[in-house]
């Protein structure tokens, strides 16, 4: 092959690449991948009371919550930490509410306000981080924490929680525990969502930042690159599932190290709460029971026994809600395989089930709220 022809091939490849990018992503809009993961049958619904959020998912919304909390009289707070089950409603219809909303209504006549913080697939290390932060800035008196066995496979602190670690006061508190120390250490090495992480303390940081800003402002394809990356990873995930026939009912084994880190985080939450005189209520998340659950049953059983052993001194503060939601309230979600339409959803349910969860929780802790 002549050099000239070889160069023509190279130039052709460049042209085709950018034409393809333009065709597929030229008009692409920012994708919310967490929303995408919920599927078309499930909608996110973050309960608000009089224009102020009660259920939030991002730290950015905290200021707005605090504003509302102050306007409602700055009462002591019940903090409810959970995953997307708290804000996902299957088959959403106008007027539907989430467990947060129903629970807040129960609290109307109590001396407590509610802050519900739900993060998709949140692990207990993230909950620990949030708890340490929130109890330091707000008068948290009770903590409700939903524990999902599947989420104990997760180990990372997501990028949008990293700002908490950067706060010196919280950092100093975190390093007092093993969980906190490892979270702080991860932060030191994790570039997070800083695309220029390798350029810290270099002169190039300034040129790269200016160049990137200019490219973002003037070249749409450059600006949309994070979306393209997300789409690529999503397609790879779908490809893996299709090739290996992985679906929601496929058994997901416990990842020992991550499981241990999360259990240690839960212990640290209990310890930290005890030191701050905060009462903790733990519940095992509801899971659909009409099909075989995707866990190793022995591992799941051991997990429940261990959780009970951690709460042995306060047995009435641990609730097993795994069976409380009837089959009819569970739905389906978008397929995670190519060529399939829908798949079973083990995590999200309809509004009626949110009411059941909220009532179950209220019935169990109502007495403790009156006593205090």
């Amino acid at each position: 092959m002549s050099n000239r022809f070889s160069l023509i091939i190279l130039i052709t490849a460049f042209i085709i690449s950018f034409v393809l990018l333009q065709i597929f992503f030229g008009n692409a809009k920012a994708t919310n991948f967490e929303e995408l993961a919920l599927g078309h049958e499930t909608s996110s619904f973050f309960y608000r009371y009089k224009d102020h959020p009660i259920n939030i998912s991002e730290l950015d919304s905290l200021d707005k919550y605090v504003e509302g909390w102050k306007s409602r009289g700055s009462r002591n707070i019940i903090l409810w930490l959970g995953n997307s089950q708290l804000h996902g409603i299957n088959q959403y219809k106008g007027g539907d509410n989430t467990s947060t909303g129903y629970f807040y209504k129960h609290l109307m006549n109590a001396d407590y306000d509610l802050l519900s913080f739900s993060i998709p697939n949140a692990n207990l290390q993230e909950h620990y981080l949030l708890f340490e932060y929130l109890k330091n800035i707000l008068p948290v008196k009770k903590l409700i924490i939903g524990v999902c066995f599947d989420d104990l496979r997760e180990n990372n602190i997501r990028d949008n929680l990293i700002p908490i670690i950067k706060k010196n006061r919280i950092r100093n508190l975190l390093i007092l525990t093993a969980t906190g120390k490892s979270i702080v250490n991860v932060d030191l090495t994790n570039p997070g969502n800083d695309d220029l992480a390798a350029l810290n303390e270099t002169i190039q940081k300034y040129s790269e930042r200016s160049l990137n800003n200019w490219l973002n402002d003037n070249w749409y394809l450059w600006n949309i690159r994070p979306e393209i990356r997300g789409q690529l990873f999503n397609d790879l995930y779908m490809l893996r599932n299709t090739v290996l026939n992985i679906n929601p009912t496929s058994k997901r084994k416990m990842i020992k190290s991550n499981y241990n880190n999360n259990i240690e985080a839960l212990k640290d939450i209990y310890l930290s709460a005890k030191e701050s005189n905060i009462e903790v209520f733990t519940y095992i998340l509801p899971i659909r029971q009409d099909v075989k659950i995707p866990y190793d049953l022995n591992e799941y059983k051991s997990f429940k026994i261990y959780l009970a052993s951690l709460n042995v001194a306060q047995k009435d503060h641990l609730f097993n809600f795994e069976n409380i939601i009837p089959s009819k309230y569970w739905g389906s979600k978008d397929a995670t395989m190519f060529g399939k339409k829908d798949e079973l959803d083990f995590m999200h349910f309809q509004a009626a089930a949110h009411k059941i969860l909220s009532d179950s929780l209220w019935n169990n802790i109502n007495g403790y709220l009156k006593n205090n």
Partner: protein, 486 residues
């Protein structure tokens, strides 16, 4: 300046345009100035070290050559070695020395502590000091004449494609090309762009994404890792460092090629090596060759070579299997390890490789009644497994973690569970298969081209389109090249 950044792409484009649009002499000045700009984009204050190293060796080279007295020649050589090694010891090893001194003192119950100094490791110091040492030694040995033109010499030392992470090249390999009459040709541009693209692909698409799995894996509590997990992490880090470092070499070779300068290859499918010796003919060839000619052969009392090709392995030919030959081998490898980083884990890594080579030397003289194909396959299998395992000390936090992890590999009870994500095993397996496929294709490229005359250009376009789209999508300086820390 980081290669994996938009700034570098623009910088390279401007340098290439400017270089080829100017006559030879001003073109050389462009390379010289742009190389200093390139380094200054990291931290301008450390440019002074490059300048000091360049100046001292420039004058030492001239003096070594012009001195008639052997003693004087030695004196100037010593000056060059003292200055370069002094810089290296101060910036790279002083903290390590202080740490060890303090630990030893505390072990002996002595009550004093040398306070820690705030020393920043200058980027590329291990590379440019080795390069300038080789220059002075080569002049002393009479292999080359010193370069009289300061700008040419300074450009050789600071030439931006290889300044911060090699390849470590001999003066003879670069200076002659810088001086000789250049001519613009399409082949260089074509190959140069492709090499830069391949390098960026290896770095931003493969190495940077694997690094997230590796970082998570190595930060886990070791007691929850199984032997299979240790193997998986060893393989994943082995791939990460290979992609990362060979990426750097690709971009270095490609950038140099764009200005008409050819560097020797630094990697050649190291994970396809059929023996530990073969591995070191294929991995970081320029460093292995440097160690061979300026360390191993001199302390073994044997004739040195004058090329950055061949790697460390070519030195082992004549006296292999002789026990007395092992001491220089172990000394060399311990130093080679230490060159990579001021930590005992690197020394252990070096000695581990010395052991592998020593065992290979002892066993290679034995004759087994098996076919050469089977022998080659077994050799490949053992070399792959043990070279991958060798990455554990290289990546582990400390020797304690290293021994714990290696201990698991040799404990049969540690093979009965899995502690990583399912994806991690899958990715490790897929990459290994991809490396084998890439090797097969590269070995059979000519026949493939011959039999797929019409399809081949299309296949090449498809391959390039995938690479270009992925590089465009993932290009961002989220992490440095691993070898920057050395």
């Amino acid at each position: 300046m980081l290669f994996n950044s938009a700034t570098f792409i623009i910088f390279l484009f401007l340098v290439v345009i400017l270089y080829w649009s100017l006559p030879h002499k001003p073109g050389l000045y462009v390379l010289f100035i742009s190389s200093y700009v390139f380094y200054g984009f990291w931290r301008i204050e450390f440019l002074s070290l490059v300048i000091i190293s360049t100046l001292v060796d420039y004058f030492a080279g001239l003096k070594i050559y012009s001195s008639q007295n052997q003693k004087h020649k030695k004196y100037y050589l010593f000056l060059s070695l003292f200055m370069n090694l002094g810089l290296l010891v101060y910036f790279k090893y002083l903290l390590f020395i202080i740490d060890n001194f303090n630990s030893t003192a505390s072990l002996l119950g002595l009550n004093f502590n040398i306070p820690h100094l705030n020393i920043i490791l200058p980027l590329g110091i291990s590379f440019y000091t080795f390069q300038t040492i080789s220059y002075s030694v080569d002049v002393y040995r009479g292999f080359i004449k010193p370069e009289k033109n300061f700008v040419t010499y300074a450009t050789y030392v600071s030439f931006f494609p290889q300044l911060v992470a090699g390849p470590i090249l001999r003066a003879g390999e670069v200076i002659n090309q810088l001086k000789s009459k250049r001519s613009f040709n399409i082949e260089n541009i074509n190959i140069g762009i492709r090499r830069v693209l391949y390098g960026l692909f290896l770095k931003v698409v493969l190495a940077d994404n694997i690094s997230q799995i590796v970082d998570t894996g190595f930060s886990q509590n070791i007691s929850f890792l199984s032997a299979i997990d240790v193997w998986t992490l060893a393989f994943l880090f082995g791939f990460q460092i290979y992609f990362d470092f060979s990426a750097y070499s690709h971009i270095a070779l490609g950038s140099a090629r764009l200005i008409g300068i050819e560097f020797p290859e630094n990697f050649n499918f190291p994970y396809l090596a059929t023996s530990p010796r073969d591995f070191w003919k294929r991995w970081h060839i320029s460093l292995s060759s440097w160690i061979r000619d300026y360390l191993y052969l001199p302390i073994s009392g044997r004739k040195v070579l004058d090329t950055s090709k061949g790697g460390l392995a070519t030195a082992a030919d004549s006296k292999q299997g002789k026990l007395y030959n092992f001491l220089p081998l172990f000394i060399t490898w311990a130093i080679m390890g230490l060159w990579h980083g001021a930590n005992w884990t690197f020394v252990f890594w070096g000695i581990y490789h010395a052991f592998l080579i020593a065992i290979y030397r002892l066993t290679s003289v034995l004759h087994f009644n098996i076919s050469s194909k089977v022998k080659g396959f077994l050799g490949w299998g053992f070399t792959l497994l043990f070279s991958m395992l060798g990455w554990i000390p290289f990546r582990a936090k400390n020797l304690d973690d290293t021994f714990k992890m290696l201990g698991k590999v040799f404990n049969p009870y540690e093979y009965n569970f899995l502690g990583l994500r399912e994806n991690d095993y899958l990715i490790a397996a897929l990459i290994m298969i991809s490396v084998l496929v890439a090797y097969f294709i590269s070995k059979n490229l000519k026949p493939i081209r011959k039999f797929t005359k019409l399809i081949y250009p299309v296949a090449e376009i498809v391959q390039l389109v995938i690479i270009i789209i992925l590089v465009f999508t993932f290009l961002r300086p989220i992490s440095q090249f691993i070898y920057f820390q050395f």
